[in-house]
Symmetry: C2
Subunit: 255 residues, 2 copies
């Protein structure tokens, strides 16, 4: 039975999509069966996997709003990953979702039908705490929080944690924090080091040991439509995400 | 009469807030009267100016949803900038806004009352193309688009431009592109250079000549609650935003 992980942080540009795409590909390298769900209207995870978001026959919008069967909407990308793709249609979904009965459970209920086919399902959330992210948190077993080691990203964690607590209290009582992953880390930069030590002080061993370094290969790979492990498997970025996948799998030995 | 500039890009983490705060402070250094409007529920511009978003007596939420007078909601920060502050209350505003008659014009109508007191009004938009950003685009005379020179940020411009075109067609016919500003630019990085030349090829002289370099002082300043020109006025980041302010003022000689 799949472990469902939401990759969430309302702060923009902290590495949610990069973590989702590269962790999914790394888990697959470890012979796990993985589904990636793109819940962001930007469709970055979709494009990052080489799937053209403007040529989709169906997308997550159809699944959430029209109740299209999720099995019909899943595509397989070039690297063999299963993907529930997204595009700009999802921008208007928030206003439409709110009019649907039990809108918070739409993604959770859709995933229930295919959960047994995967070891992991990773959900890439948009940079907001609105209805789409709530849908992702309700569907998830736990949350991975990418954190860029800078002031605004650290400061935003308070709001994210209280959002998660609200979802736990009313919609998904078993939702847990899977871990916080430090992204774009630069050890030469005292701000990075300072924020990192504040994270570890506050969150303890919920902070992954793996530090994702700033590595230009991670920024180049999406323009080639492949995860970094297929673009440059010897790069520090690829090695970091493979290491992170090792930590994730260790926490879920049954998968 | 104030020039109203929306700082918008749905891609997260491209430097919208950093541009808004530091351009506002730089315009003030040039003796222009400036109001900064924080339209992002994250409240980053508010915190970046040293104003505690959790201690506000009133915020932009009250102005947009309850019709509180904007003059009553404006605070003055430590550096003398006028600020219409924001906080997490704004997260739920999108669902409430949609139920208000002419919701698209709420910010535009609120700003009309105080526009004559300023030379420039800068609006920091959230990382989305939803109702809040639409409100910002309808309120604005033109849009400044911060662009990080990387793949996802470049790819997202198509969606942003079509959103702007839709607002021009139906809600704000005189809305123009003020300019695109390249942020976190690293000349040693071939991806940065490549994306930058694609921007200039496509957008021509709508791309500001000023390149904002990656400069850690820009990331450190917000943790001290001040714009970079007050934190380290000799830094490359401070000089870049003062130069950008010069370009902006040149386009609006009457201010
Ligand atoms: N470790 C890294 N090293 C270098 N570049 C990175 C790294 N992680 C991410 N990037 C780049 O930084 C930018 C932001 O990352 P990404 O888009 O994954 O963040 P996000 O949190 O998903 O953004 P959004 O909030 O818009 O969804 C992208 O251009 C990405 O390629
Ligand atoms: N030129 C720069 N050099 C170094 N760091 C920068 C620069 N510009 C912005 N930053 C840092 O990068 C991060 C992202 O910038 P910022 O928060 O301004 O982007 P944003 O587009 O407003 O993000 P969001 O989409 O979350 O609103 C912040 O931590 C900021 O301090
Ligand atoms: Mg993303
Ligand atoms: Mg911002």
């Amino acid at each position: 039975m799949a472990v469902v992980l939401a990759i969430a942080n309302q702060k923009g540009g902290v590495g949610k999509t990069t973590t989702c795409v590269n962790l999914a590909a790394s888990l697959q390298e470890m012979k796990r069966k993985v589904l990636l769900v793109d819940l962001d209207p930007q469709g970055n995870a979709t494009m990052g996997l080489g799937v053209d978001k403007n040529q989709l026959s169906s997308s997550i919008y159809d699944v959430l709003i029209d109740g299209t069967s999720i099995a019909d909407a899943i595509v397989v990308d070039d690297s063999g990953l299963d993907l529930l793709a997204s595009n700009i249609d999802l921008t208007g979904a928030e206003i439409e979702l709110i009019q649907i009965e039990r809108w918070e459970f739409r993604l959770r209920e859709a995933l229930a039908a295919i959960k047994n086919r995967y070891d992991f399902i990773l959900i890439d959330c948009p940079p907001s705490l609105g209805l789409l992210t709530v849908n992702g948190l309700v569907a998830a077993d736990s949350v991975i929080v990418p954190v860029q080691c800078e002031y605004y990203a650290l400061e935003g964690l308070t709001a994210l944690m209280s959002s998660i607590r609200r979802v736990v209290a009313s919609l998904n009582p078993s939702l847990a924090i899977e871990g916080l992953v430090r992204t774009m880390y630069d050890p030469r930069n005292s701000l990075s080091r300072e924020v990192s030590s504040q994270l570890v002080d506050y969150f303890g061993d919920r902070v992954y040991r793996t530090l994702i370094p700033r590595n230009v290969r991670l920024a180049e790979a999406p323009s080639h439509g492949v995860p970094v492990v297929f673009y440059d498997k010897y790069s520090r970025g690829a090695i970091a995400y493979l290491t992170l996948a090792g930590e994730v799998v260790k926490k879920h030995p049954q998968t």
